[in-house]
């Protein structure tokens, strides 16, 4: 999207990470419905919450199908709903869809809608869902949910009754609800002429909007998931992190999104702010292109697996605010292979692998940029670590505005990051022969087959087995090396209650202002 922020003042961190990142709810047994409320007792109704986000300037949009920035997603989820949202473990949770039932061949899905109404009083009907999806996938659309939703054969999908839709898919897709939860797959009323004054079914009703400045919304007392505690929600824009913190300290806002670990540490003990570290939000890694020298040699990729000191990277690059990765994407998400032995630095092994690959003392270009926080620092630290094993990684600083497009085509080794998404989305977007952003050029028919098998079975154990097999391949000779997962840091005034500290950025319970109250 737009200006997708980007000067140093408008850091690219504002960008949402990746297409199909979702939104979520951790419905842990026992906390069903109510998000983690650390303290503060009984929720109290009333008041206005002002939340400061980094923004996209004049080019910000309200169109929920065009969301790209965190702030756009926060606004969209205040006003709209999707059929499903990602929970804190990235499994899809029913939202406007009350339930879903696949046919035996996983190619036809029957979705029952919840009894919900739009802000104008109209019920949410199957026609609204079909029209929303048709708008997202229309020809020449560049809406983010397009690729995920194009699995639907819309021409052959139909309304069964007032609250039931039957989706016909182009292929068997066992995790179809992931597509319903995909970024930007919001439901708008059919025949919406324009979205300047949006009408949704979400917890807040539209009030006013000025791109790059502010947004106001008021409580929807008829929200199907229970009315919000707040009377009013205001989302304001400050691209400068220090200014967001100052605004919070000066009581100009009650919630500040996206803080640096340094700010968090400075203010954590002061008692003036509450710091929330949302875990498993931001994956940091390397992408090696395996279709070309030198990384077409598995030994060289394995040498990198063994020379990286992940703990040191967490300490230095993430300032300790994160978790150790084990080279695979999606730590602790559904289907994650958590039983594989944790790798650590083993320089002897790395040296012998380098020797096998004939790469002792070799020099390899290592692309990085300031496109996202930590990319450059990680590249410099890893290149220091590699030198100890006798490998020269020559760090090259690229243009931050075009970095992601540049590394998708060129280079051999790049500093990489990703936001939260289900394993299924990570694989389908990045690791299949047909993937559009296959940054490691991992194209293996046997791997593709495992993915399609996982999507063609209704047997949960069988699907988990395929996921394990895919991850074993990647663990042993894949092109990604995910060394750590940083927390997403949010701060609030001490009076703010009901912020869920377990929800990764961009999942259902992240920025979920309908569950927040002011004590």
């Amino acid at each position: 999207m737009p200006y997708r922020p980007t000067s140093s003042a408008l850091s690219r961190r504002g960008f949402l990470s990746i297409a199909t990142a979702g939104t979520a709810a951790l419905w842990l047994p026992g906390c069903a419905g109510e998000s983690a409320a650390p303290t503060g007792g009984q929720p109290r109704s009333g008041g206005r919450l002002r939340a400061a986000f980094s923004g996209g300037g004049a080019a910000e949009v309200l169109d929920p199908h065009q969301t790209n920035l965190y702030v756009e997603i926060a606004r969209a989820k205040a006003m709209f709903d999707k059929l499903a949202e990602y929970g804190s473990d990235m499994s899809p949770q029913p939202r406007l869809a009350e339930r879903w039932e696949p046919s035996a061949d996983l190619q036809t899905w029957r979705i029952t809608l919840r009894k919900a109404t739009f802000h104008n009083g109209q019920p949410v009907r199957p026609a609204d869902v079909l029209a929303s999806f048709a708008r997202i996938v229309e020809p020449a659309s560049t809406r983010r949910a397009k690729s995920a939703l194009s699995v639907i054969d819309l021409a052959n999908s139909r309304t069964i009754d007032d609250r039931t839709i039957e989706f016909r898919l182009k292929r068997p897709y066992g995790e179809f609800p992931n597509a319903l939860a995909t970024l930007g797959a919001y439901i708008i009323p059919a025949g919406t002429p324009n979205l300047d004054r949006p009408v949704g079914s979400g917890p807040f009703k539209f009030g006013s909007f000025e791109p790059g400045r502010g947004f106001r919304a008021t409580r929807n007392p008829d929200y199907w998931d229970g009315p919000p505690h707040l009377d009013e929600l205001e989302i304001v824009i400050s691209n400068d992190e220090a200014a967001r913190v100052n605004a919070l300290l000066g009581r100009q806002v009650e919630y500040a999104h996206d803080l640096t670990p340094t700010s968090a540490r400075t203010h954590e003990s002061s008692g003036q702010l509450k710091i929330h570290r949302l875990p498993l939000s931001n994956f940091h890694g390397l992408a090696m292109k395996i279709d070309r020298p030198p990384f077409n040699q598995p030994e060289l990729r394995q040498a990198l697996f063994h020379l990286v000191d992940r703990e040191e990277l967490i300490r230095s690059v993430l300032h300790g605010s994160g978790q150790l990765g084990n080279d695979l994407y999606g730590k602790n998400y559904k289907y994650y292979a958590g039983d594989l032995a944790q790798r650590g630095p083993d320089l002897d092994k790395a040296r012998s692998l380098l020797k096998k690959a004939g790469a002792e003392g070799a020099t390899i270009d290592f692309d990085t940029s300031d496109a996202s926080t930590g990319l450059k620092e990680a590249a410099l630290a890893i290149s220091d670590q590699a030198r100890k094993a006798g490998l020269n990684l020559n760090v090259k600083l690229g243009n931050k505005d075009t970095y992601w497009a540049d590394i998708s085509k060129k280079g051999v080794l790049a500093s990489y990051r990703s936001g939260a998404m289900p394993l299924e989305s990570h694989i389908s977007q990045r690791l299949l022969t047909t993937s559009t952003t296959n940054n490691t050029q991992w194209r293996r028919p046997d791997f593709d087959k495992l993915y399609y098998e996982a999507q063609s079975t209704t047997n949960e154990a069988e699907r988990a087995d395929r996921y394990l097999k895919m991850q074993e391949q990647l663990f042993n000779e894949g092109g990604f090396l995910w060394w750590g997962i940083s927390d997403w840091i949010v701060a609030s005034a001490p009076s703010v209650q009901g912020i869920d500290d377990r929800a990764p950025a961009n999942t259902l319970d992240w920025a979920r202002f309908d569950r927040v109250w002011l004590a």
Partner: protein
């Protein structure tokens, strides 16, 4: 050269200057790697989507073609649409100009009397302890970059003491004038220093000049000589410096905009460049170049009027 002829000459030159700046901005932006389609795709650079975007945004046309189209439309008063937002360039530039002009205007209203007053005072007491204090302080402040001063001042006066709001987030500058205090204060610091030092030096030069000695011998009161004879001559060089200051302020002082969360022209330009949003960049280039041409013209005329003997302009 008579004043009307001079004006016509300068106006013509100004139009050429604006066109050159615009073309310069256009080709410099084109020289940056990537285009709007690539920046819109962000970290999900699906080649098919980038191709679609390029087609839709008309980025497949040649640079010359696009610059030409833009020029023809601009001459008809149509500055086009942003590539990224469904908004017109005029709308985007106008809404960003409002806070910038307000900050710049307020800063100037305070700047001119303060800096002239300080300069005259220091020159009047040349060599005194007061002069040394003013000169020392202004030199010190001039050396501090505004982002450092901004952060320091917010920390002390807003966060620690709570006297003023730390940022302008979520409010408009006109609805809540208290938010203007700190940014205007920071914006004033450096220009006050440079201008008052120029005025001081000009006053001292003028006071020691032959004509001032002459009018003093004629029996005019020293105060009258200082304000009606020395001051205009001293202010003439400061007018040029003031023009540069206006230019700086209207360009949107981006660090101040960031620290105090003022969505002005500087922020808009930075965002537009990062997004390769050429129509918006072009619109801003016109505003910036026109401002520069106009304020320099006004400064040159002012200098001519104030000190007809001085060699200014061309």
């Amino acid at each position: 050269m008579t004043i009307p002829r001079y004006l016509a000459h300068r106006a013509l030159l100004g139009v050429v200057q604006v066109l050159v700046v615009m073309a310069g901005m256009f080709f410099l932006t084109e020289a940056l790697p990537g285009d709007a389609a690539v920046t819109i795709a962000g970290d999900n650079p699906d080649p098919a989507m980038i191709a679609d975007l390029r087609e839709r945004l008309g980025l497949n046309e040649s640079s010359w073609h696009r610059l030409g189209d833009w020029l023809v439309a601009a001459l008809h008063g149509d500055f086009g649409q942003s590539l990224l937002a469904p908004r017109s360039v005029v709308d985007i530039v106008a809404s960003a100009a409002e806070p910038t002009l307000l900050l710049a205007g307020l800063t100037l209203v305070l700047l001119i009397p303060l800096s002239v007053g300080l300069g005259v005072l220091a020159a009047h007491r040349e060599g005194s302890r007061l002069d040394r204090l003013i000169s020392g302080t202004t030199l010190g402040l001039y050396s501090a970059p505004e982002f450092a001063m901004g952060i320091l001042i917010v920390t002390v006066f807003a966060v620690k003491l709570g006297w003023f709001p730390p940022t302008a987030v979520g409010t408009s500058l006109t609805d809540n004038p208290a938010v203007l205090v700190l940014p205007v204060f920071v914006l004033l610091l450096r220009p006050i220093c440079s201008l008052s030092r120029l005025v001081r030096a000009g006053m001292i030069d003028a006071q020691q000049s032959d004509y001032v000695r002459h009018v003093l011998r004629l029996g005019l009161s020293p105060a009258r000589v200082r304000f009606t004879h020395s001051l205009p001559n001293a202010v003439a060089p400061a007018a040029q410096q003031l023009a540069r200051t206006v230019d700086w302020l209207v360009g949107g002082v981006i660090v101040i905009e960031a620290i105090f969360v003022v969505p002005g022209l500087g922020t808009t330009l930075a965002a537009a460049v990062a997004a390769r949003d050429l129509p918006v960049i072009q619109g801003l280039a016109v505003v910036f170049a026109t401002t520069t041409v106009l304020v320099n013209l006004v400064a040159d005329i002012a200098a001519r009027v104030l000190a007809p003997t001085a060699e200014v302009g061309r």
